[in-house]
Amino acid sequence: MMRHVISIKDFSRDTIDGILDRAAELESIASGGSSNILSGRILATLFYEPSTRTRLSFDSAMKRLGGNVIDFGSIEVSSIAKGENLADTISVLSGYADAIVLRHPREGAARMASEFSSVPVINAGDGAGQHPTQTLLDLYTIRKESKLNGVKIALVGDLKYGRTVHSLAHALSMYNSEMYLVSPEQLKMPDSIKDDLTKSGTKIIETTNIDDAIGVVDVLYLTRIQKERFPDPAEYQMVAGSYKVTKDTLKEVKDDLIIMHPLPRVNEIDSDVDSTRHAVYFRQSFYGVPVRMAILSMVMA
């Protein structure tokens, strides 16, 4: 049985597969159905920084399972504003709910919260740290829309600071994957992560040119490149432009290539790609609901 969901690194491949299987069972309820699997249960959401999509995705997941949601952010903003620490807030909140979803700007916040909570804590992002439900929904998308075991994937964009790609790369290293790491020189994947990947037997190919990867991969995973990372705006424009995917870019790709993006996109993907069979990013975002349903039902079982 799962208790807390803090980091994808806490999970074995078996546990991950179990979550993805459960999500597959729940997907039909997620798309317009209802159930009473968690009726009478209460989920608390506690967001110290706004992430409306993630919060609403949990909200939707809990309600599809027949449960209730209380949002600590809106009912008790005052105590946080008064400077109550996170540990105390968690101790109080675990008396009101059967599980807590936490988003916090500090790395390690969810781990600490789990030590003070009498109910399961689900990490919905801790600073530049972990966001395990995002990783799980990415894995679910790959499994559903492509193939997970042995996947050839290109991770594109900001690989230096992007926690999403760090966690995804770690998780994929359990699935015999082959990874193209495509990024500008100044935003390369950190050595520590590359070392871990290599140790796990993952084949990695580093490049700054998206053309090296786009024709051979099963999955193109795009992420935002933030302006703030570049001192020179002109350089940003040039770099960001070179990773932009348009219908033209996709002329010589595998038929069953899928394109993923954690959204919101800025200008990484031209809107003319949306209507192609390759675009799965909106479904990817929807898959967050069944995956979070699976997690909620497992931690509150």
């Binding site: 980091s7 690194k9 620490n85 996170l86 540990a87 916090h104 700007p105 500090r106 790395e107 390690g108 916040a109 781990r111 600490m112 030590e115 003070f116 801790d126 600073g127 530049a128 740290g129 972990q130 520590s192």
Partner: protein
């Protein structure tokens, strides 16, 4: 007679602890780890850059350090040896053993880590030995390697 015992003889102490084979230049950091500040009563001698800068030695009179308190020394000086001296003789000798886990000794180098706030999260690390000693923060996952001495609490 070995070089080491000759050196131990240079300034012999009657009772106490001699920490030998400290990585050169780290003797003062070792004292910090042991909480020896000069405010306490022990008579302490420090010899730095012995044998052509190969090592430092610390001698603490009339105090026998227990193995657990000295194992933290392994973080910055993994080859150090501890000699317990009784009546001018080495009564016990052991090597420091790198602990697998430490708490409250080093702070996390990630300024945005939850342990670097007023929250009740005590900095804790899983320790492994790769190229050097590596400390991985149990909260944020950040790894400290060669700058451990800079982050001692």
């Amino acid at each position: 007679m070995t070089v080491q015992s000759k050196e131990l003889r240079v300034r012999r102490i009657k009772n106490g602890t001699v920490i030998d084979h400290i990585t050169a230049g780290q003797a003062l950091t070792v004292l910090r780890i042991l909480g020896i500040t000069g405010q306490s009563d022990e008579v302490v001698s420090v010899v730095m850059n012995v044998s052509d800068r190969k090592k430092d030695i610390v001698k603490i009179e009339d105090r026998e350090l227990d193995p657990e308190e000295v194992d933290t020394i392994a973080l910055i000086s993994p080859d150090a040896t501890i000699n317990i001296i009784r009546d001018y003789k080495v009564a016990e000798k052991h090597e420091v053993i790198l602990p697998q886990h430490i708490e409250g000794v080093v702070r996390c180098m990630n300024p945005n880590c939850i342990t670097n706030t007023d929250e009740p999260a005590l900095a804790g690390f899983e320790i492994s030995r790769g190229k050097g000693v590596e400390l991985r923060c149990v909260y944020c996952g950040k790894v400290i390697t060669d700058q451990i001495a800079d982050f001692l609490i």
